[in-house]
């Protein structure tokens, strides 16, 4: 092996112009991230070499010179992270629904912390005594059964990562012009957690199933007794009675002490505070399935039983409201997911879709869960339009906004940002970077 040649190759790589640019406006080969971190790090320092002259001598800060705080039984995050919170639609608990949106632009990785998981509740958050809560399965079964939380906890448990998304997430993007809102306001009604519980099929084995049963009606113990119809096909596939969220019991707003989990299906169907499952021959045509989550189409007809949260991705950093601090290397980071299965690839563009580069997908890439994608990018200080586009393993591709609007239409004027003017929006999101470094929501 010619060591000198190898060394020279390394030297070449750290020079700015030799970074492997793979698409327009400065997108760098994703492999620069994978196993070539040293090269990238070297490149980041290349260019104008900063001088060390006049640097402040390092001193010990007070926390290094005294004993710290006591260890609490249930730890909470640093007080310096207090701004990382959900945004609330109804903080005073007025008699209407209440949404809380996940701050994706302030998070990384693929797991949403329990305190930041999105919630929508339609009649406040019930305070449920877990010892008194019951789940009843009845209707077209051989033997109706009643389960307590304690009894369900003794069943064989399964864990899986699963995203949950409100069918109305991203609804502000039905606006005819790009609403100047953060990724939290636009896409904050999706989150991802590890859910642990009992497979519904296990419980249905015990009740027995009358072959006439084609649907089950799920109902919560909350004040609206929220109710949705679920095809038996899904109930017997991967449906779960979830008892744990990221290793601890469910958060109250996420359905404590138990909820229905239907991986990949619209959030509202994943009935929280689950107290009853009735097997029936036909769907109940509940208010939420026949009105709220039936989106109107441009010809005046409407979709019913949409169920699926289709393939989608968005860049979380940089994103609307951020400001880039001068030209140089940045990492584009975002999340992708599909209700159909695993993400196959995510392509990123920095020139509004003229050219694309494959992003690195963070392992593990799991079915119906968040996949984190990343790509290094050299911003040259000029205007740029950042986009991500996801494909799932079933071959579904995230539409461009033009493709989406051609089929699903758009509103005639910008809607209230907290409203749900329509549902099941999954097109590409575009972030425009101006010469000042300011990042804004744009349509491209």
């Amino acid at each position: 092996m010619d060591k000198s040649a190898d060394r020279n190759a390394g030297k070449r790589d750290v020079r700015r112009q030799d970074l492997p640019i793979v698409a327009g406006n400065g997108l760098i080969d994703r492999r620069a991230l994978l196993g070539r971190g040293a090269i990238l790090a070297g490149a980041m320092g290349a260019g104008i070499a900063p001088s060390a002259a006049g640097a402040e001598p390092l001193a010990d800060d007070p926390w290094s010179l005294e004993m710290g705080e006591p260890t609490p039984p249930y730890q909470v995050r640093s007080k310096f992270e207090a701004k990382v919170v959900r945004t609330l639609s109804n903080p005073n608990n007025e008699p209407r629904n209440a949404h809380a949106r996940t701050p994706h632009h302030l998070l990384e990785g693929t797991t949403t912390p329990n305190g930041l998981h999105f919630t929508i509740n339609h009649g406040g958050v019930p305070t449920i005594d877990p010892d008194k809560h019951r789940l009843v399965i009845h209707g077209l079964v051989k033997q109706p059964l009643e389960f307590s939380l304690e009894s369900l906890s003794r069943y064989p448990l399964v864990s899986r990562m699963s995203f949950l998304e409100c069918g109305g997430n991203s609804a502000p993007m039905f606006s005819p012009e790009p609403m100047q809102e953060t990724v939290q306001a636009l896409h904050g009604l999706v989150s991802c957690a590890e859910w642990t519980g009992v497979k519904l099929s296990t419980l249905l084995e015990e009740t027995g199933i009358d072959p006439k049963a084609k649907w089950l009606v799920a109902e919560g113990a909350d004040s609206p007794h929220l109710s949705r119809s679920v095809p038996m096909k899904k109930a017997l596939d991967d449906a779960m009675i979830a008892l744990y969220q990221n290793g601890e019991r469910l958060m109250p707003g996420n359905g404590y002490p138990m909820r229905l989990l239907l991986p990949g299906y619209e959030g509202n169907m994943n009935v929280k505070f689950l107290r009853r499952l009735k097997l029936v021959e036909q769907p109940a045509m509940s208010m939420y399935e026949t009105r709220t989550y039936s989106p109107i189409l441009p010809d005046g007809k409407a979709y019913r039983f949409y169920f699926l949260q289709e393939v989608k991705s968005f860049i979380t950093s940089p994103s609307h409201g951020m400001a880039l601090k001068g030209p140089g290397l940045y990492e584009i980071s975002g999340i992708a997911y599909s209700g159909t299965g695993p993400i196959e690839k995510v392509m990123v563009s920095a020139d509004g879709g003229k050219s694309w580069a494959a992003a690195a997908l963070q392992e593990p890439v799991l079915s119906k869960a968040f996949t984190r994608f990343r790509l290094p990018w050299r911003w040259d200080g000029g205007p740029a339009t950042l986009q991500s586009r996801a494909w799932d393993e079933a071959g579904n591709v995230q539409p461009t906004r033009a493709e989406f609007v051609a089929v699903r239409g758009e509103l005639t004027k910008p809607p209230p940002v907290l409203g749900f003017a329509n549902q099941h929006y999954n097109s590409i999101t575009s972030w425009g970077v101006g010469s000042s470094g300011e990042v804004k929501h744009v349509y491209a």
Binding site: P144, K214, P224, Q282, P283, T412
Partner: protein, 180 residues
């Protein structure tokens, strides 16, 4: 000798595993408590569009009008015409555009039973399940009559309600039929 013995143990263990897998359905814990439908009745408020599950009782639009004024109009407006914090329930508006604001009971709700079901399970917002079944029938009749979907003196009960044909019944496209 030792190897033979080991082989035998492996074979027996493998057999045991196969038998366990085959019998796995029977091996669930069976910790559910049997309960009969009579004991579930108070919770069983599911109504199907063909009327299955509708309770005894009845109500008329006139009976509904006074209940509505007392318990519903503060949020849904006088005569259900809106103006309060909650949606209007009475409107002749047509669907014009894709906004959900276009949806009314008359132009979008496919089944009359959905009105009964939702009122009974969720209304009034701060006092759900406080209405009697007769009151729910009366309010359903009132809303249907104000929308001119039934006559002003029509009685709603378990037989008549599912027969009310809603104008939007056939306005829907099943998005993913293969998932049902």
């Amino acid at each position: 000798m030792f190897t033979l013995k080991l082989k035998r143990i492996v074979v027996i263990a493998a057999l045991a595993l196969v038998m366990r897998a085959g019998a796995s359905f029977a091996e669930t814990p069976h910790l559910g408590k049997p309960i009969d439908e009579a004991a579930i009745a108070n919770w069983d408020i599911s109504i199907l569009p063909d009327g299955t599950g509708l309770p005894k009782g009845s109500g008329t639009p006139a009976q509904g009008a006074s209940i509505f004024a007392e318990k519903c109009s503060a949020c849904h407006g006088d005569n259900g015409k809106g103006g309060g914090p909650a949606n209007a329930l009475v409107s002749d508006a047509k669907i014009a555009g894709i906004s959900a604001a276009n949806k009314t009971i008359k132009n979008f709700w496919g089944y009359s039973t959905t009105i009964f079901d939702f009122i009974r399970r969720a209304m009034p917002f701060t006092q759900p399940r406080s209405l009697s079944d007769d009151e729910v029938y009366a309010l359903t009749a009132y809303i249907l009559a104000e929308n001119k979907l039934i006559g002003a003196t029509d009685v709603m009960n378990a037989e008549t309600l599912p027969k009310v044909k809603m104008p939007a019944r056939d306005n829907f496209i099943i998005r993913f039929p293969d998932r049902i």
